[in-house]
């Protein structure tokens, strides 16, 4: 966008982005959340086999998400908090991926991910009404945020669209290949969708469902077919959290990537967090979904190649 000769389009895109960010802040502040900032250069991001972090020198890495630091604030008694966090993930470049991106992350003590579905739905509707509505969508938009969101369990979505039921610890490659090739393209794109209750193996920081420990209390929110947000009822069991970190670190080592020590301060704090739910939402993707843009290129002032 930065190189575009169309000055009016650039101004409009900048304005849309600023309005969306302002509307999100207003929405969350109105619900009692306090905005926080946590460090971007950290020693020990959460080990996740499918997320590669970027080394920053001096034994630090760029945060792939502000999750561990925000959870330490929660454990220390912060109450509901949110953050507009710049986040970094190595080698993720594409129509809907940029290695550096803006993430809205927010947490509330005392609730589960079910309340967060309601909150995500309200947030999208509110942001659309306040920030996008008055300016109009940029492209042909399939999404109507005012339609009630569809809520479908992962198990049901796979049974219907991929013809098998992923329980417990399904094969990673088979699960994700069918997710992107069969399940996601079958979801309605005129309304928001929540896929919820993921196989336990795929939610390293989420709580197992009390009625069925083979699934985790995790949901993904799709808007216009785009995966925009991920949410958990957070895992607050330090021993279980350590076991999962160990499993993730072993997978990272097996893939030949660098490993690093765990964030021990997080592991010792997380038990004090109590019942809590949280969500992470890709701000750039929300802009794509709400404006009908073709790709991140149309909403990012600077793409990876421009930076």
């Amino acid at each position: 966008m930065i190189g575009s000769p169309d000055r009016a389009a650039l101004r409009r895109a900048l304005e849309l982005r600023a309005r969306v960010v302002a509307a999100m802040r207003e929405f969350l502040a109105g619900r009692g959340y306090v905005e926080v900032e946590t460090p971007v250069l950290i020693r020990a991001p959460a080990p996740e086999r499918h997320i590669e972090t970027i080394p920053a020198g001096d034994g630090r890495r760029l945060a792939a998400s502000p999750e561990l630091q925000m959870k330490r604030l929660l454990a220390a008694g912060s109450g509901p908090i949110f953050q507009m966090a710049r986040s970094f993930r190595r080698r993720e470049i594409g129509r809907l991926h940029n290695p550096e991106f803006a993430m809205l992350e927010w947490y509330r003590p005392g609730v589960t991910y079910v309340e967060f579905m309601d909150e995500c739905e309200a947030l999208v509707r509110e942001v659309d009404r306040r920030a996008i509505g008055p300016l109009g969508a940029a492209g042909p938009r399939t999404l109507d945020p005012d339609l009630p969101f569809l809520r479908m369990a992962v198990r049901e979505a796979f049974e219907r669209f991929a013809g098998w039921i992923p329980d417990g610890a399904p094969d990673d490659v088979r699960f994700f290949a069918d997710l992107v090739d069969k399940v996601e393209p079958s979801l309605p794109n005129d309304r928001g969708v929540f896929l919820y209750r993921y196989p336990a193996s795929q939610a390293s920081l989420a709580r197992p469902a009390p009625d069925d420990p083979s699934v985790a209390e995790r949901f993904e929110m799709y808007l216009g077919g785009i995966e925009v947000a991920n949410a958990f009822t957070e895992l607050a069991d330090p021993a279980e959290q350590r076991r999962r970190f160990e499993a993730e670190r072993a997978a990272i080592a097996a893939a030949g990537r660098d490993t690093y020590p765990f964030d021990e301060a997080f592991l010792s704090d997380v038990g004090r967090m109590g019942l809590c739910a949280g969500a992470a939402l890709g701000v750039d993707r929300l802009l794509v979904a709400l404006t009908g843009a073709a790709s991140l290129r149309d909403v990012l002032p600077f793409t990876w190649d421009d930076a």
Partner: protein, 187 residues
């Protein structure tokens, strides 16, 4: 070997012994999941197009393909003989690999011959060629505007539709992609 991070448009790869070219690709990755590269690839022999998703890190076999500029010499049964004008090497290409361009191959025409593992698998003609009309029904002199057409046989073998005012012995320009008449050229 390539891996998925090498995938870009026009990358040529071998799958099940056939050469394919990447016409489009997209990086996809669920938030907590493995990355994939979704591609649209075209078979360089048959032209068939299909969608194929590769897992991140998956290895891809490069396709040893090469395009050489060659001159058409003559036809012998189902073999078409071409010569490399740089080193005078002569090679024969089977009719199925010459494809639809066969009927427009005039002697000395310069074409691109595609080789896969050293074997010719395709011939690309220039978009426009000039060929003599071998036979057609007599034209209606002066009729350049009626818009009617008639079939005509080219000296190179193909039968194409030409306007009524074009006659035997005329040289005409043909679009080799679909065999349409473009214009009559001066002899």
């Amino acid at each position: 070997m390539y891996d998925t991070s090498d995938i870009r448009k026009n990358l040529k790869i071998t799958i099940d012994g056939n050469p394919w070219v990447v016409v489009d690709f997209q990086f996809v990755k669920p938030g907590k999941g493995t990355a994939f590269t979704r591609t649209r690839i075209k078979n360089m022999i048959t032209g068939a197009v299909l969608d194929r998703t590769f897992k991140s890190g998956e290895k891809l076999q490069p396709a040893d393909v090469e395009e050489r500029r060659m001159q058409f010499m003559y036809r012998e049964g189902d073999s078409f003989w071409f010569m490399d004008s740089d080193n005078y090497e002569q090679i024969a290409v089977d009719a199925p690999h010459v494809g639809d361009g066969e009927g427009f191959l005039a002697e000395n025409l310069v074409v691109d011959v595609l080789f896969f593992n050293g074997k010719p698998i395709g011939v690309t003609l220039p978009t426009f060629v000039e060929v003599e009309l071998a036979s057609c029904e007599p034209g209606l002199r002066g009729d350049t505007a009626s818009g009617g057409t008639k079939p005509a046989k080219l000296s190179t073998g193909a039968v194409v539709q030409v306007p009524l005012h074009v006659n035997e012995g005329d040289r005409i320009k043909i679009d080799t992609r679909d065999g349409t008449y473009v214009e009559r050229v001066r002899k």
